[in-house]
């Protein structure tokens, strides 16, 4: 064969390969034919929808009990009546060809089902056990898998979730709680009161609110009545059960009884991530991705969905959390449609993302920037020094260091603004920005030139800038500041020691929502900063027993006044987390943490 022939052959082979690649590529991009599997899936949903047609449903309202404790709960018992024309899945027309008889609203409802949502996780998910790990990402992922007895609605009010009905005896001491029908674990076993009781036991082994519930109960105070009902009896009237049990972070997740018997000081392991929630764990590649798929047997509540409460409809086939460590890459992937949502994107990207018409930004403003002070180490063991620091605070300078003005607000309330517990107690002591007064107090305390050691992490976008504002401010009022460089992990490891005076951090309303979950108020000792106040303990118990919202607010007012006088911590203001997502993601709102219940994809 001549050289020319060989060259021609080579060119022909190359062209053949190219043509083949082109064919394969084109085959992959052609519109998919309707698939039978998809049709079958939709059929199942249709049956569920038809059961909810108002005409065919008898609705009776029945007030179980009007209790002045917590909120008044009006329980709706909905009796489902079979549709008169029996419909079997095989008889229902395929989704692609809906019959004219189906109302438009139902067709629209069917269209919401399907699709996969890809979320960039806020951080690496190390554990999915909410009773073991307090990490934010543990809460976000596991809340789709596990359910809790009561849950917050979008107004942060406790509502029954796994519970069908609950009653409180007239003496205010005994709750009788009945689980709702249709609760099925992902291993196909029904949820029983025994699972719920064991899970509560795992919760109060560690969590502050859980501990309070346990300590307030009578001995042997939790008893199963039958497979669906159990009682909780308290030593004194206890009005805080619903609030405590509905907190979304470090929440009382309902595990199987076997898993719940394991100690909360150890992870239950992947094999025990079995809940009864709308999604179940399909795949977990630690450090890479977590894939949840729809729990086909999940039966949502009949009320409209509202954050974690009400009907949580799993429209999506799958939710995948991928771990992308780099902020710039997260944003690039969102802009190119590689993924649909970035959980907690850097605030610096807000302006850039706001200008992109394919991206919508949901935000949640409930993060409180905080300076936590050690009251057992000189010179901050002196109340005057702490008050001086409080007097010097220019809250606006701190908050504006975090990001654009749209993403932070000044707020003088310890339990957040725009919540039922927003307090005005001691309001004039917040954001004084009075350097002269601060210097006088430092002088009065005899602490001029004293050395203050500040721990400020250098790897945390929403904390690191605070230290850069704090250091010159402290120097301005006459203190000497040491601020050694450290990462967040090192800081967390040191906060229970005595080798510092203060550290910068943030709290979120979904974690520290009230005096029950507030670790400073809850701790008798042992929490970072070593602050302990017997009056706080009394007020916390009073709060737990409080009967009305006004009573609770008046307790919070006093707690806030003590805080601003004693200054074991200083809150600076609130900032928002942002959740930029493609506009193809529908019905995503973030009242606290990003939940993808009732979220669908516009395909």
């Amino acid at each position: 064969m001549s050289r020319k022939s060989r060259a021609m052959s080579a060119i022909l082979v190359l062209l053949g390969v190219l043509l083949l690649s082109l064919l394969v590529a084109c085959a992959g991009t052609e519109p998919a034919e309707p698939q039978i599997i998809e049709v079958e899936k939709e059929v199942i949903k249709e049956v569920e929808v038809i059961k909810e047609v108002p005409v065919e449903t008898i609705v009776t309202k029945e007030v179980i009990k009007e209790v002045p404790v917590e909120k008044i709960v009006t329980k709706e018992v909905i009796k489902e009546v079979e549709v008169q024309v029996p419909v079997t899945p095989k008889e229902v027309p395929a989704l692609a060809q809906p019959t004219p008889a189906l109302p438009a609203a139902l067709i629209a409802e069917q269209d919401k089902y399907g699709g996969s949502l890809k979320v960039v996780s806020q951080a690496s998910v190390k554990s999915m056990d909410p009773a073991f790990a307090p990490a934010y990402v543990t809460t976000v992922t596991s809340q789709h898998v596990f359910e809790q007895l009561f849950a917050w609605d979008a107004n942060y009010v406790a509502q029954p979730q796994m519970v069908d009905s609950w009653k409180l005896t007239n003496d205010g001491k005994t709750y009788e709680i009945t689980l709702r029908d249709g609760l099925i674990f992902h291993n196909d076993n029904p949820v029983t009161s025994h699972d719920a009781i064991a899970s509560l036991g795992r919760w109060w082994e560690k969590q502050a609110a859980g501990k309070l519930v346990f300590q307030s109960m009578a001995e042997g105070g939790i008893q199963a009545v039958d497979d669906k009902t159990f009682t909780m009896t308290f030593q004194e009237p206890f009005g805080a059960l619903l609030n405590a049990a509905s907190i979304p972070h470090r929440y009382p997740a309902t595990f199987t009884k076997e898993a719940a018997m394991l100690t909360a000081f150890e992870d239950v392991g992947e094999e025990n991530i079995i809940g009864s929630g709308p999604y179940k764990l399909k795949l977990w590649e630690p450090g890479n991705r977590i894939v949840l798929e729809r729990h086909e047997q999940y039966s949502p509540r009949s009320e409209p969905g509202s954050f974690l409460a009400g009907g949580s409809v799993p429209y999506l086939d799958e939710i995948t959390w991928v771990e992308i460590p780099n902020e710039e890459t997260k944003i690039a992937g969102l802009e190119t449609g590689e993924w649909d949502i970035v959980d907690g994107a850097g605030l610096d990207f807000y302006d850039q993302l706001s200008m992109n018409p394919d991206i919508r930004i949901a935000s949640y403003p409930g993060h409180q920037s905080t300076i936590q002070i050690h009251v057992g180490v000189p010179p901050t063991d002196n109340k005057l020094v702490r008050q001086a620091i409080l007097a010097a605070i220019d809250a606006e300078a701190f908050m504006s260091s975090l990001g654009p003005n749209e993403l932070w607000t000044l707020c003088g309330s310890v339990y957040y603004c725009n919540t039922p517990l927003e307090s005005q107690g001691g309001a004039d002591l917040y954001n004084q920005n009075n350097i002269e007064r601060a210097r006088e107090l430092i002088k009065e305390a005899g602490a001029e030139g004293a050395t203050i050691k500040v721990m400020n992490p250098n790897d945390y976008g929403t904390i690191t800038p605070l230290g850069l504002v704090l250091k010159p401010m402290l120097e301005d009022i006459g203190l000497t500041v040491e601020m050694p460089g450290m990462d967040w992990a090192t800081l967390i490891s040191k906060i229970r020691g005595d080798d510092y005076n203060m550290f910068t951090t943030w709290w979120a309303q979904w974690a520290v929502a009230d005096p029950i979950t507030d670790v400073v108020v809850a701790s008798t000792a042992g929490y970072a900063g070593d602050y302990s106040n017997p009056r706080f303990q009394e007020l916390r118990l009073q709060y737990a027993a409080a009967q009305t919202a006004d009573e609770r607010l008046s307790i919070v007012d006093e707690i806030q006044e003590i805080y601003l006088d004693e200054v074991p911590k200083i809150w600076l203001g609130q900032f928002s987390s942002i959740f930029p997502h493609r506009t193809t993601v529908k019905n995503l709102d973030v009242p606290a943490i990003p939940m993808f219940l009732n979220v669908w994809m516009d395909n």
Partner: protein, 313 residues
Amino acid sequence: MTGYIVRRVLATLPVLLVVALVVFALIRFAPGDPAAIIAGQEATQEEVEGIRRQLGLDRPLPVQLGIWFRDILRGDLGQSILSKHEVSELIVQRVVPTLSLAVLTEIFALAVAIPIGVLAAWKANSWIDRVVMVFATLGFSIPVFWLGFILIFFFAVKIPLFPAAGYVAPSEDFISYLHRLALPALATGVIIMALIARMTRATVLETLNEDYVRTARSKGLSEKLVLIRHALRNAALPIITVVGLGVAALLSGLVVTESVFGIPGLGRLLLNAIVSRDYPIIQGTILIISVVYVMINLLVDISYAFFDPRVRY
């Protein structure tokens, strides 16, 4: 040869023992307490102590070291103290992405570096040589993360030819697997390419001045044959050493590329473990990387005999 290999393998054991001891000591004395990190900022000291007890971190260090060594001898690298996943499983999951990226990087680097290195040597001191060397110096000086972002910006965001980030296993979709690794391999490969190109130029230039090359030319062989058969082959040993060490270094040194491009490789596994002070993962990963490093060195040494018949062990 067999005796040499056996001796070399046995010689790795004390090296690995020292590595294990140093890693164990370094991470235990570094600041950061895994129990405190797990417990979070809202935990009390009592809670932290409870977790530490449960994880066995309250035991004396020699006991913890003994338990680790005992488990290693049983072939058990332990479990993640956070998620309870087996460390060996995690490492196996992460080896494929990292190895794939390392191999693709080397292929890209070799494909570019050898020709331009030989060309630079052949045209030494010409403008071609200078251009190649400037290019190589630039390639070696550009930070990987910067080049990664630039590549993403231009070839994923502005001109969407490649995905911005992420990884797909070859078993799931082989084309997508290669497609997603292209940009990261390019970003990392530029450095390796620069290194190999400079090494190739230097060694080929040296051999071009040897007597046997002059003899080959005087026999009337074409310049192509002289370059490839005589100069390049004799210059191969140092290049192989650089390539081998490059693969070994890439296995542990791809952490920046893996982070920028969201590839779940060994580097990210290690980095995540360090951030959360997950001792078993840190120890296990570094130990395995050390084993691989030693083995690649051994393979490089053995390959000398293949390329240079004068080398005998």
